[in-house]
Structure formats: C-alpha cells, structure tokens
Symmetry: C3
Subunit: 154 residues, 3 copies
C-alpha cells in the first residue's frame, strides 16, 4: 500500500516539477536573466523559435535572449505569458504542450505580438527535470503549428 | 495514517486530472481534432457557447467544431487559451471556473477575439473525469457572465 | 517511510492551496464580489497596484474594488486573467510570481488594458494560506517591474 502511494506521489511530484520548470521561463526571460532562462534546458538542449531559428546549447539560447531583438522587447515592455501545459509523463521523459502569448506595450495598452504553440521534450537529469527541446511555432494558421499543439507533430 | 494519506492523495489526483482535462480543450480545438475535443465531454454532455447556442452530445459538439466558423478561425490562425481553473471538488462531481481568451491573427499581431467566463460541471465516469456541462459566456459587461465567473450563477 | 510521504504530501498540498488562492482573485474581482476578493488577504494585508497606489487591510482593498475605476471596468466587460504562478515554499511562508493581464472590451474584441508582474508574499494562517502582500507593477519596460517578475526585487 505504501509502495503504491509512493509511486502515485512520485507521479504528482513529476507533474508539479514540470509545471514549475515551464512556469519559470517567462519570468526569467522578461526579467532579463538570460543565463537563468538558458539553464532551464539541458546542456545541449534545443530551442526552436518560430520565425527566428533553432538554437542548440545553453550558450546559444543565452545569446539569443541577450540579442537585440529580445532585449528591445523587454526594455520596451513585454510579458511572455505561458498557459497551463498538457503534460504526458513517460518514466524519465515527458512531453508538455502549452501556448505562449507575448504581450508588447503599444501606446496605452499591450498587443499580442506573438501567439504560439509550444511542444516541450523534457528529461529527468541529476539536476531535476530539464528541457531537452522546445519547439515554438506561431499560430498563424499553418498546418505545422496546429499539428504541434494537438500532439500530432512527428 | 496510511488511509488518511490515501484520501489526501486522491483529492490531489482528482484536482490534477480535472486540470489536465480542461488544459486539453484548447490544443484539441486549435489542432482541429474535433472528435478528440468532443470526447472530453460525457456522451450526453452539454456545451453552451456564448453568442452561438447550446450543443448537447458529443456528435453535436464535434459538428460545431467542424463547422465553418471554428474551421475558419483555426485556419486563419487562432489560440484558445484557458486560464488556471478554480476547482471545487464534491465527491464524484466537481465544478471548475476558468477564463478563456481566443486570440486571432490580425495583420502582424493577434487580437483577443473573445474573452469569456467558463463554468465547468465535471463528473467522474468509468473513463475518468469528463465534462457534463460547460457554460461559456462573453465577458462583455453582462450580469450573467459576471455571475458565472464568480460562482454565483444559479 | 510514511512520515516522509506525509511531508512530501504536505508540500504538494501547500502548492495546490496557493495555486487555488491566486486563481480565485480574478473570478472574485470580475464577478464584483469585492469583500470576497479582499478576504484572500490577511486582515492587514497589502495590495500595491501599479499606477494606482498601495492599499492596506481588507477594508481598503474592498473599497478599491468597489471604487469607480474597477466598477467601470467590470461593467464595461473585463477579464482579470492570471498566469500559472511560480511558487517558492518556505515553511509557513511562501512567495509566488505570476503575470496578470486585464482584458477590456473595446468594440468587437478585447484589448490588453494592463499586463503586469505580480509578486505575492503568502502566509499560512488558521484560515489557511492568505496573501500578506501583493505587489503589482505594469510591464511597461521599467526596471522595477522586470526585477519583480524575475524574483530579484529587494
């Protein structure tokens, strides 16, 4: 009985840890802690950003966030808001799917500058759960973004 | 002690399962998996959509999502983003309240096409938690939408 | 073993209770239950609202929500949408950081009227977890709002 409880507890803790990991991205990105944001990934993790490109490794992800585009965004006023993710656990690996909406200050209000689908490939490491790959695609009507959010992407 | 732990665990698992059920709606709706989205409801479940109408049964809900209005929306670029819900458990039944914001591609950015209150009546079935009724009302200042989100709807 | 499980369970329950507390703010604020919204705070809790001011005590917070500005907003059509929070537990105290976006009906759609960083100081009381202090700052590019969301605020 206690063994079964421990197994059920571990599943809840894994889901909580993954939810926490994903929730930390926006605050680090908007706060300008670029190394902190990059450390959510594994050492050789991949961040594929719709409309930008694919970045592999913490140094490349940190450099992306330190670049002119992201820095201009956060210094002009921005909020990288991520939705509650759909999480599918599979032992020491997991996938999560979530929306991200980037709001940007525009005049007296904010505009939804980007609305994207995100597929997260997560892995349990000795440092806890980390992002092995995050694929982000703009929800602009394209079939690949729709496949990504629905879990049908290959 | 172990019995009490099991009871507390079950409550956490119920909340997690309901959170997961609700989080799956957007990805299925935006991905165009209309049968999958409808299967979140019970066989005779109800989806009342503010500004559209009331749809009962999985077939009717699937047909709504396969219809011109929803298909036009997702092929033009859309994100059905749902907020973290407020969940109230009551044995084999539960209610949840959440916001939904539908973003629609408009020019170079996205506009908040709909911002709604949602009241979910949930029920535990042999297939797990399902939606018995989802009432969606546009937050346009009307008293009934405000009552719905605050939990004061009759 | 059972003791350890109980400790782990308590941590999950604390996180769930804090998530629930924060998720209740929007529905109470938009539903116009101003006393209910104020009761999320401790008796002498503080709500510092970017662009408005600092309000201490449940009566002051209730009065703020009963005031012309908030009432005009919700009667014109509004959604106070809060993101999944980042939660850091520390015994009987905790902090949480989240985004809030206030959508306001504008013509045929909604505009993001406010996009803010929120730092929540939470405390366990005999009534459960309550908000000791919520600091809200507009994400308009200012350094203090960025520090708040990234957890670097003093």
């Amino acid at each position: 009985m206690t063994d079964l409880l421990a197994t059920r507890m571990a599943a809840l803790e894994d889901r909580e840890a993954i939810r926490d990991l994903i929730a930390r991205y926006g605050p680090l990105a908007d706060g300008g802690d670029c190394a902190g944001a990059a450390s959510l990934w594994t050492e050789d993790g991949i961040y594929e950003v719709g409309g930008f490109g694919s970045y592999q490794g913490r140094a490349a992800i940190q450099a992306l966030l330190e670049g002119e585009s992201h820095q201009g965004l956060i210094h002009g006023g921005a909020a990288h808001v991520l939705s509650p993710p759909v999480i599918d656990l599979d032992g020491d690996r997991a996938t999560a799917r979530s929306y991200s909406v980037v709001f940007r200050k525009a005049g007296d209000s904010w505009e939804a500058h980007r609305a994207s689908a995100n597929l997260w490939q997560l892995v349990r490491t000795h440092e806890g759960w980390k992002v092995a790959q995050r694929v982000n695609r703009l929800l602009d009507g394209s079939a690949d973004a729709r496949a990504l959010i629905s879990g049908e992407a290959s």
